[in-house]
Symmetry: C2
Subunit: 115 residues, 2 copies
């Protein structure tokens, strides 16, 4: 079990909200998001992760989409946060802080009062 596989499980349930966070201030398209995620240590992803994810978020109403022409090449589908998406990011952020504190606590105390 490589060290990569360890992080793969950590990513579950987090990647979605990282993508949403990256859309907070500006719309972006698929390839751009993949590049951005890859530039973050520990969030390595592939197309097979991002595109189904974006479809899901669109179906859930967390993002809006809009096609934009490009100077050269195919048009790109840009994703933008909806109100619900912004709310989801906020909710996650709260939950993340709480979860992070819990895990830190477990690893500091190493298993309880007797430890």
């Amino acid at each position: 079990m490589p060290i990569e596989g360890l992080a793969t499980q950590l990513r579950k349930g987090v990647i979605e909200y990282c993508v949403l966070a990256m859309l907070r201030n500006t719309p972006r398209y698929g390839g751009e998001l993949i590049q951005l995620m890859r530039s973050q240590d520990g969030l390595l992803t592939s197309e097979g992760t991002i595109y189904p994810l974006l479809s899901r978020m669109r179906a859930d109403g967390l993002v809006d989409t809009e096609w934009r022409e490009t100077p050269r090449g195919s048009p790109r589908r840009y994703y933008r946060l909806t109100k619900a998406g912004q709310q989801a990011v906020s909710d996650f952020q709260r939950e993340w802080v709480r979860f992070r504190a819990t895990v830190d606590h477990v690893f500091v105390h190493e298993g309880g009062p007797q430890g």
Copy 2:
């Protein structure tokens, strides 16, 4: 999608190592681990999570087991960390610190330099 469901995905890949961490200083049995996990905010679990997990860890050589008699009632299977288990906890801890930093970074910067 309740707020509980949000944390359910966060737990993936973390519960296993939290259980291992709880075995660092003393062997414990199933019911004890369930109670301990439940006492940690954000790590709510059930038997259906813990027992398959413990079986997996035993198969992977991360824990040893030993039956112990009790004054009353059924004997209990106690779990204890192996060398490999201790190593796994250390590896995870390193990975967790790194992962945590990455997620924090994404949420602080909110998606990039243009933001």
